[in-house]
């Protein structure tokens, strides 16, 4: 168990390195932070001094090494745009994104899995057909369009739900939560649906096809031959076996949710990391962008580790003679 975790972490290190290199390289020459920081009036001398101070006159790899050294200590410097520590900015935004992503994932799983199970079991019922059509429309609608339509309907037309922001948040130490106020919950509904809908349809389709696959297996036939009840077969035997691949994909989807949050947060002006990222791209705020990408990579690596551990918990086959996984 322990060595398994260690080996997984060792495998993740090169990934992290590559991501940090890319994320740094990607933005090192995009735009010119100096121009933005100087504003409307400045002299040539001021400009050069700023370039020097930011270390932008250093060779690329020197800049990268400095960046990496600091990053390991969680030190990403000051945001060019906001003149505040990047770590702090991200820490402020992270709860918003995580609450949104988790709610969206929760919606996607809580609705997507049962719908997938249902459509997998009752392939030809009209409800299944409806779900399938619904899911196809779901994967065919771009996220940003869904968001816009929801705002139009529920905010502008009906006036039920807010169109932007997080509402009132409660502070729990450094974490700010929108779960504890009515306005926070109301503000969460539309973005979470927008973000979750696409994942919901993916998960539903995935569960459905896995379910159908599992229902064809010998052990399900054998379970029927043993006269077990449908309930035991469908929800005990079939569902549990369906869960194994679903866990992997759902884990990957959570990563996808965090990435797609960029779009949702832009549409709903949700004050999370994705919005911070997009705003930073516009301002060529290199430290923030680099830190965001590294954080996302870290999140993905962590999710992968958790997925592996879950796998480990669900599938006894992995517990002995690990190595050849799935």
């Amino acid at each position: 168990m322990f060595s398994f975790i260690v080996s997984r972490i060792l495998q993740a290190l090169p990934v992290m390195f590559v991501v940090s290199l890319i994320s740094f390289a990607m933005f090192a020459y995009v735009g010119d932070p100096v121009a933005i920081m100087l504003g409307q009036d400045f002299t040539e001398a001021q400009r050069e001094a700023l370039v020097r101070d930011l270390g932008l006159d250093q060779p690329f790899f020197v800049q990268f090494a400095t960046f990496l050294g600091n990053a390991v200590q969680g030190e990403f410097g000051l945001s060019y745009r906001l003149s505040r520590p990047v770590a702090e900015l991200i820490a402020e935004r992270a709860p918003a994104t995580l609450e949104l992503a988790l709610t969206a994932a929760f919606i996607a799983l809580m609705i997507g899995v049962p719908m997938g199970v249902y459509t997998g079991l009752y392939r030809n019922s009209w409800l299944s057909r409806f779900f399938l059509t619904f899911s196809l429309v779901g994967v065919s609608l771009p996220t940003f369009l869904i968001g816009i339509l929801l705002i139009l309907t529920f905010s502008v037309w009906l006036g039920w739900l807010p169109s932007f922001g997080r509402g009132d948040v409660t502070r729990l130490g450094w974490w700010s939560s929108g779960f504890f106020t009515w306005s926070g919950i109301k503000a969460l509904i539309l973005p979470a649906i927008t973000l979750g809908l696409f994942q919901l349809t993916l998960i539903m389709r995935l569960v459905r096809s896995e379910m159908m696959e599992v229902l064809r297996t010998d052990y399900i036939k054998f379970a029927r031959a043993r006269g077990l009840s449908n309930r035991a077969i469908n929800f005990g035997h079939a569902l549990k076996n369906t869960l194994v691949p679903v866990i992997t994909i759902a884990g990957l989807q959570l990563g996808g949710i965090i990435a797609f949050a960029i779009v949702t947060e832009t549409v709903f002006q949700w004050p999370g990391m994705g919005l911070l990222f997009i705003q930073s791209v516009g301002a060529a705020d290199i430290p923030v962008m680099a830190a965001y990408l590294m954080l996302i990579a870290l999140v993905f690596v962590t999710i992968n580790l958790i997925v592996d551990l879950l796998y480990y918990a669900v599938d006894p086959r992995l517990r002995v003679g690990r190595g050849k996984g799935h």
Partner: protein, 526 residues
């Protein structure tokens, strides 16, 4: 029953409480990126700090000068101005405001890390004469010093030094500067809380000196500012009653907002002029198919480009009448404006073609037009329309539209042949525009720093130098002369002055300001 009654009373009391809190929920596309008053000379910063900090000199709704923290000022000698300070003024944290704070603030604005150099560039030093008198010594006579000082906010020396903020914030420091997030002004509102990019809350400062002045009739107790970058979302928030006041509603939504129940659109001009500037310095353009010569150095070509633009069509469709078509460098609010010089070359495609043929380009030429796409009102659309209009006279322009970051970076490297720029005039004086945009770039602070077409005309330079020192009618004549030269020499193709409609909920009145700065001291919630 009794309990029920008590509950009802409580609810009633709460409702009264709610009614008494006169809150304005205010949104704009951008968020101030600092709370330091001398760090960023940017409208989005100033529009919030304006409420918190005062300058020595204040402005009235017509942008005229009014006493602010200084009750009187006088040019004692050509290079010495004396300011008499307002007594009994206190900062939000209790410090008394004195001449020492003025000396400190001006010194601070003069620091290299300050972004407010242009407002204090002529100042040599400030001297405290007594606690309520300050002398400001300029390096050369500066007739418009009071205009400039209306943009320099006053800070407390003891507070700043105590918090290690004696200089404007500097990104070279690893640590965050105290003033990035904290304020201590003398103004009508104080900063109550701030989450960058999310929400900034200002609360009324009941002790503000200005509430004694009858003109300051505002009754707002709380301002909640929230940045909403997306145009559609901002309008949606306004329509769904989540926001009361939007300072930059998109033009295309004005009709809808005008018709919306309970909303009003306040219309008015901004002191900002949109124009096209051209590379008239290089012998060969960087981005053109013309080799061996620079067509833009030929005034006939510049005039042809000018003639080809149907500014009325842009005004009517893209700007939806929210622009003031112009033929000059700045709008009428600016000191030195001359209506006789505000004349455009007429829209005339035939004339444009003829001029091009005359200049030796009967088949036109290729050129790249650099544009921002998120800086000015409908900037990218304006450029697109101009590119299409030029196409009709044979100029094959390629549009290169960029976000403001890369855009400014590019033109500031002189890496452009043709670009669109918008220029605001915070001092409301002609010199600010001429000096930055049209003076030969010579390294002196302010001269030609935004002149990326590197227009250089000794005649113009001489006029600009005279503007710096002359006063009165002589100066106005100089400016008029410069404007005439501007019109004849076509260093720019002027387009229009922006109009800046504000959208506000019907129960709120607030004067529309041409500098695009709301002053909540004058805002009334009914």
């Amino acid at each position: 029953m009794k309990a029920l009654w008590r509950a009802a009373m409580l609810v009633a009391a709460l409702m009264v409480g709610v009614a008494e809190a006169r809150t304005v929920r205010w949104a704009a596309s951008g968020d101030p990126n600092t709370m330091d008053p001398h760090s960023q000379n940017v409208g989005t910063v100033t529009m919030v700090l304006q409420q918190i900090y005062d300058a020595l000199i204040s402005r009235n709704p017509q942008l005229g000068l009014e006493p602010g923290l200084a009750t009187a000022w006088r040019q004692e000698e050509p290079t010495r101005w004396r300011f008499t300070l307002r007594p009994n003024v206190r900062f939000h944290e209790g410090e008394a405001f004195t001449s020492d704070d003025v000396v400190f603030s001006i010194t601070r604005a003069l620091q290299p890390t300050s972004n407010f150099g242009i407002f204090v560039d002529t100042i040599d030093r400030a001297v405290a004469v007594d606690p309520l008198t300050v002398d400001i010594i300029t390096k050369a006579p500066d007739p418009i010093l009071p205009n400039k000082l209306a943009s320099v906010f006053m800070m407390s020396r003891s507070w700043s030094e105590r918090n290690n903020a004696a200089r404007p914030q500097n990104t070279r420091q690893r640590e965050e500067m105290f003033t990035v997030r904290n304020t201590n002004g003398t103004g009508a509102f104080r900063l109550q809380s701030r989450e960058p990019d999310v929400r900034t809350v200002l609360a009324r400062n009941p002790d503000w000196w200005g509430w004694q002045v009858p003109a300051n009739n505002g009754n707002v107790t709380e301002i909640i500012f929230r940045p909403i970058a997306s145009d559609a979302t901002r309008v949606a928030a306004l329509l769904s009653n989540e926001i009361d006041f939007v300072i930059d509603p998109p033009l295309q939504d004005l009709a809808r907002l005008r018709n919306a129940q309970g909303l009003r659109v306040l219309e008015g001009p901004e002191v900002r002029t949109i124009f096209l500037a051209m590379d008239v310095a290089r012998d060969e353009l960087l981005y053109s198919d013309v080799r061996g010569r620079n067509p833009l150095r030929d005034i006939r070509v510049r005039r042809a480009l000018y003639h080809a633009i149907d500014i009325q069509a842009i005004h009517r469709t893209i700007m939806r009448n929210q622009s003031v078509v112009t033929g000059t460098l700045f709008p009428e609010q600016v000191q030195g404006y001359s209506r006789e010089e505000d004349v455009r070359l007429p829209y005339d495609q035939a004339r444009a073609r003829a001029l091009l043929t005359e200049a030796g380009y009967p088949n036109g030429f290729e050129i790249t037009l650099d544009c921002s796409n998120n800086r000015y009102i409908n900037d990218e659309q304006i450029c697109q329309a101009i590119v299409a209009m030029w196409a009709r006279v044979g100029i094959r322009a390629r549009l290169n539209a960029m976000p403001l970051g890369p855009f400014f970076a590019k033109i500031q490297r002189d890496d452009t042949s043709l670009y669109m720029l918008g220029w605001g005039v915070p001092t409301l004086d002609a010199l600010y525009s001429f000096q930055s945009l049209l003076a030969t770039r010579n390294g002196a602070q302010g001269d030609g720093i935004w002149n990326y077409g590197r227009y250089s005309n000794p005649q113009m330079d001489a006029l600009i130098q005279r503007m710096k020192t002359e006063t009165g009618e002589a100066r106005n004549a100089t400016i008029r002369e410069a404007l005439r030269l501007y019109r004849e020499d076509v260093p720019h193709i002027p387009l229009h002055h922006q109009m800046i409609p504000w959208a506000v909920r019907g129960n709120i009145t607030i004067p529309h300001m041409a500098n695009n700065q709301p002053y909540f001291r004058w805002a009334v919630v009914n």
